[in-house]
């Protein structure tokens, strides 16, 4: 009973989110995005470099993930 209520609530929330999302108007217009288009605003300008740093960290820390991929290998040595 409790599980089905949670599922129904989830489905209802999802439906509301999608229906409201479809009617959303972009509040930052395309012609207002010149600053966001500047290269300094890119999340990751150099994926190879950030992947390499992630690999170094994952070889020395217990944490991993949610950074965008760190390649393979064990860093056992």
């Amino acid at each position: 009973m409790r599980r089905s209520s949670i599922l129904m609530l989830g489905a209802l929330s999802g439906t509301l989110l999608l229906s409201s999302g479809c009617s959303l108007q972009p509040w930052v217009k395309p012609y207002e995005r010149d600053r966001l288009a500047d290269p300094i605003m890119a999340w990751d300008r150099d994926a190879i470099s950030s992947g390499y740093m992630d690999h170094i960290r994952e070889s020395r820390e217990g944490s991993r993930g949610a950074t965008g991929g760190a390649g393979g290998g064990c860093g056992c040595n």
């Binding site: 605003m41 190879i48 949610a66 393979g72 040595n77």
Partner: protein, 379 residues
Amino acid sequence: MIAALLLIRSTIADVLPDNRADVFYSKYSGGGMDITGYSATARAKLTENFAVEANYFIDKVSGASIDVLSQASVIKDERKQKSGTLEYLHDKTTYTASYISSVERDYISETASFSLSQSMFGDLTTLTLGFSDTHNTVGENNGTADVPKVAWVGHALSRTYSGGLSQILTKNLIADVNLQVITDAGYLANPYRSIRFLDGGNAKGYSLASQVYPDTHTSTAVQVQAKYYLPYRAAVTGLYRYFTDTWGVIGNTYEVDYTHPIGNTWIFEGRLRYYRQGAASFYSDLFPFADSQNFTARDQNLAALDNTTIGAKVTYAFLPDGWRIFKRGTVTADVSRIRFNYLNFRDIKDFSLPQYTPGTEPLYSFSATVYQLFLSMYF
């Protein structure tokens, strides 16, 4: 034009990124290890909707970290990683499939990944979902650095489930949240690292034994970051990541970056990162006796630790008017200094009896420097 394409990479997903070729050099030095890396990458759009990317990376390792040095000879090894990626764009959705193969003398890893990225709500929001499957084969070199004798000790399987949401909040502010759950099963220990336990019969006061890890592991990481365009032309980024796993490790990462361009030629970047974690529930620097519990570890990665990174990066753009097939090029230098402090992992390589009884050795710490230099050509 270039700026517009970079926007697409960062915030929306309805045009594939520009063609690009990179050569990359890196050097890591610290904690008794020197690792030199070389890499080459090329990506090309075959049509407006279809792109391919290939990367080759080679790491050459010499030396060994402290917990390996405490019991083994100096190590020389090489890691060769190859990857290939296909990207297909359909309307507002980008589908990406990739394969990564990483081979060391004593470790083979293969990963297949798939992700899709959907731009929505007037391109203010980008949703990304991903899945990857990894198969690792783990070995142990019982020979020497020059004459290896590798015994394969086990396999491990990993599955990664990822979700991400990137959101334009204002004309100066973007935010991003990523969730990643990883499950592992199989041989998960590092065969080169050992536990130690008190042993009055040994002249050192302790003896070494193999680690015993659980054969399953599930971790969850959530990262939130925001990037703000300052009132003058510069950007500041704040990042936080929370990590937890079924082995009892809890990690917190904090990072602040500052990016400052000068004209269209130079981009300077500075960053400060702090990371702290608690130890795994079955970790101990010194166990009271052999087989004192079901699972045992003394791997420094599972100890309580913190580290602080300070880094600087400079990018110089050249050929603004292009040359032959190239539209422009950049050269980038990056240096990071990392200080590692272990809170319950002791230095048994440099300190021992009679001055230090087991468990009273100074805690281990070291500093590492990471250099990166790379050339990127856009065409």
